[in-house]
Symmetry: C2
Subunit: 185 residues, 2 copies
DNA sequence: TTTTCCATGTAACTCGTTACATGATTTC
DNA sequence: GAAATCATGTAACGAGTTACATGGAAAA
């Protein structure tokens, strides 16, 4: 009744998916994630190393150690047939189930009425500015042409960012105008 | 260098915010959250009880025990002046900082190319259907008129849901049509 | 009379992060 | 010669969830 397959583990899916393209060692994988997938996942290096070893125990990947020159030895992971099946199973589940992301900002929104409107407007404009900076950085990373799927997922992310920007502009303007009215009348 | 104020704690903000409206006991608060804020927060009952007691130790709330009939005694929490300051501070931070939600579904998107297009289209249509069901439920809860801020945050959530629906419909249609082409030609 | 609701609390556990250890090697 | 990169690993810690304990009252 407990087990682990109820909640989909998108971290394993990610690692297996990367290994579907080619075998790789941990450092390589972590590097790729850090440089390209900042907005897609929050997995940390230590976690990835542990997960890779765990997947080796489960038989989803095999390991063999490589030595290049006399640099630190690399543990190169390759996906196995069972790993491929697991990957496909996780992928299907991931595709079928909508995720319910939590927007932490919604908690603040709930209590807007406890601060003066113009102050709220000011804070939201701050938020807007930061968001736009994030979006600029994000779009730079977007142009480096990736595989089709990666491109798609980054564009998906961008759509939600853009919605957020539009929404913030609208709300901030509303708050602004409603305080202006009072000032004018 | 570590401390607790670096990452904004939206759970405390939520609890303090609820107590800004009126004093309440733990069960009452948990009940409200469970019935109204399913999509806003993931805080669990046990966590809320612990947090309320912790905030009492920090002086942000006071507790007094009430007995109604001989039902289980209630621990009623009231926000203190220091609590109000903390609430406002957390609220300002929450409003100023955009959140970077993680869309777990984006991980799956990255690896679309590893399944046949028509299968992907099928899975995404499944996802779409489930999402629409969620949205129906959500909209029912939306109509029960809440305070202005709560209404706003729920509408915000709805916007993102709607974007997701539109996006899914577009992508699923694209995948469908590109497999149709092959069938026709 | 069995189930659900009221009302709180906590021990055990899971999961993941932080922070550090190690050591060679290229770059500045 | 100092700093960043390469490459992995793990112990300690923290946060939060699960699952259970308790026990009366109201609803079915």
């Amino acid at each position: 009744m407990k087990g682990g397959n109820d909640v989909i583990d998108e971290r394993s899916l990610l690692l297996l998916g990367i290994l579907m393209a080619q075998s790789a060692h941990g450092y390589q994988i972590n590097d790729f994630i850090e440089k390209n997938l900042l907005y897609v996942t929050e997995i940390k290096k230590a976690t990835a190393y542990v997960l890779l070893d765990r997947m080796a125990l489960s038989g989803f990947v095999t390991v063999h150690t490589e030595q290049a020159g006399n640099r630190p030895p690399r543990k190169v992971y390759s996906i196995t047939p069972e790993g491929i099946e697991q990957f496909q199973s996780l992928l299907r589940q991931n595709l079928e189930h909508p995720d319910s992301p939590i927007y932490k900002g919604d908690v603040g929104l709930m209590f807007l009425d406890h601060l003066p409107k113009d102050e709220v407007a000011h804070h939201l404009q701050q938020r807007l500015q930061r968001l736009q900076e994030q979006m600029n950085l994000f779009q730079k990373g977007l142009s480096h042409s990736h595989a089709a799927g990666i491109q798609l997922s980054l564009e998906h992310r961008l759509l939600h960012m853009q919605l957020e920007v539009d929404w913030l502009e609208r709300i901030a303007a509303q708050l602004q105008s409603s305080t202006d009215e009072k000032t004018v009348q």
